[in-house]
């Protein structure tokens, strides 16, 4: 294998595609998953507005979505992708299945973060006459912010992992390069370089996320 500027260009493009896909999928994933997670936490039997039927329904829906393997989801949602993006291949098109895979997973993490909030604090806010929106925004999300941020870090890492399969629909990105060159063409060098970049990326995201979470945590003296 020879290393040429083309290769560097390809890797830079791959890194960019990965960041683009992961960034937007996480963003859209939270736009769907955050409200869904809040709804789950709030409507559960110990939540601030228990709604048994609604909880069961959402719980079931999230479980179904979470149990579909990503590779299958990628193909299953092609009609929807075409409708939303106009085409079914490329990085932008991959954001659709990535978002759909991420949202229920994010919803579960949000749900579990919000359920960690001390019941006593919720009770205190209720005793002050806080309305549902204040409870959600200032008490649940406000108090769970550290846990929620840790969740964002986990979500980024997981979506990054999923994005490696984007190659199947020509999504591009580092994972795609690693599979195409390393796995199909036996170009181990390229594969190793891509995997090293991916590892570094996850490390950086993880370190940044945890740092931010720690900075914002006031629960310790």
């Amino acid at each position: 294998m020879t290393w040429d500027p083309e290769m560097t260009k390809m890797l830079v493009q791959g890194l960019w595609d990965t960041l683009y896909m992961v960034g937007f999928s996480t963003l859209f994933g939270y736009m769907l998953g955050l409200p869904l997670g809040v709804l789950l936490a709030v409507s559960d039997k110990d939540g601030i507005r228990p709604r048994r039927v609604l909880y069961r329904l959402l719980d079931f829906l999230v479980n179904i979505l979470r149990s579909v393997p990503f590779l299958i989801l990628l193909i299953l949602v092609i009609p929807l992708t075409k409708l939303l993006v106009g085409k079914s291949y490329g990085s932008t098109a991959t954001i659709v299945p990535l978002t759909i895979a991420a949202a229920p997973f994010i919803a579960r993490m949000v749900e579990s973060s919000l359920k960690e909030v001390d019941h006593g604090v919720i009770e205190a806010a209720q005793s002050m006459g806080a309305g549902t929106w204040t409870m959600i925004g200032k008490v649940l999300i406000g108090e769970a912010r550290t846990s929620l941020l840790v969740g964002v870090t986990i979500a980024l890492g997981t979506i990054l992992g999923y994005s490696a399969m984007a190659g199947v629909v020509g999504g591009g990105g580092l994972g795609d390069i690693a599979i195409r060159y390393g796995y199909y063409r036996y170009e181990t060098g390229v594969m190793i370089v891509t995997v090293v970049i991916l590892v570094a990326l996850v490390q950086i995201l993880q370190a940044l996320g945890m740092m931010l979470a720690r900075l914002l945590d006031r629960r310790k003296a």
Binding site: E123, M128, G129, T146
Partner: protein, 258 residues
């Protein structure tokens, strides 16, 4: 008519393993500005009782009337507004851990829709009342138990309540801190004419600040009256047990000092 009237209050928890009667035909009245104690051993139903006053727990039967208003007849919205009139402090303080002391005190004013700037000025005044103005920028995790309870009291004052419910408010504190918190409660009771319901398992709390006391046992009020009368001449076994156990431990701790 009394300021707070509790009539035939019942609370039953239903579960698969059967019904549990937490409160059985509880009746009492409290005059305006009075401090009313409810004492009992753990499991007697004290916490359930106090939560039935501001409807954090919904009574199974009976009436809760505060200042002529039947709490159970209120709509959800009306209840939220009414609750701003009924403050509550807790054994474990229940402060917002991710907010500064100042922002904790601002919280009820935010709920009431006050402007942030105005709320901050007021919050500082309330913190001065509990002698914690210098901790305004600290976070609850940096405070001692007694300081946390003072913040909780400042927070409760911020909604200018006419009723204050104290749920084992001194139970997590050492005897000295308990004294200072009780003095503070007595002070705000006199200064603002706040009617108080004090839930406790400690006799000395009742002895020090309560005008009237009710003894709760297995969800029933077995004895009630003026604090001094109940203390001087307890009629029921339950009251005797609570009072004599208390005196016994007092003697014991005095004795150990010799």
């Amino acid at each position: 008519m009394a300021f707070i009237e509790i009539e035939h209050l019942e609370k039953t928890y239903t579960s698969k393993s059967g019904d549990t009667e937490a409160l059985k035909d509880v009746n009492f009245t409290i005059e305006k500005g009075e401090i009313f104690g409810v004492i009992g051993l753990s499991g007697a139903g004290k916490s359930t009782l106090v939560r039935c006053v501001n409807l954090l727990e919904k009574p199974s039967a009976g009436r809760v009337v505060i200042d002529g208003e039947d709490m159970l007849s209120l709509s959800e919205r009306e209840l939220r507004l009414k609750r701003r009139d009924i403050g509550m402090i807790f054994q474990h303080f229940n402060l917002l851990m991710q907010r500064t002391v100042l922002d904790n005190v601002c919280f009820p004013m935010e709920i009431a829709g006050m402007k942030k700037k105005e709320a901050r000025v007021k919050a500082l005044e309330y913190l001065e009342q509990v002698e914690l103005a210098d901790k305004a920028k600290a976070y609850p995790a940096q405070l001692s138990g007694g300081q946390k309870q003072r913040v909780a009291i400042a927070r409760v004052l911020a909604s200018r309540p006419r009723v204050l419910l104290c749920d084992e408010a001194t139970s997590a504190l050492d005897p000295q801190t308990t004294q200072s918190i009780l003095q503070l409660l007595k002070h705000i009771n006199e200064k603002y004419q706040i009617t108080m319901i004090v839930i406790t398992h400690e006799m000395r709390v009742v002895q020090q600040i309560c005008d009237h006391v009710a003894v709760l046992e297995y969800g029933r009020i077995v004895e009630s009256g003026r604090t001094k009368e109940v203390f001087d001449d307890p009629k029921t076994e339950a009251a005797k047990r609570l009072i004599y156990t208390h005196e016994y431990t007092e003697l014991e701790s005095e004795g150990s000092g010799i």
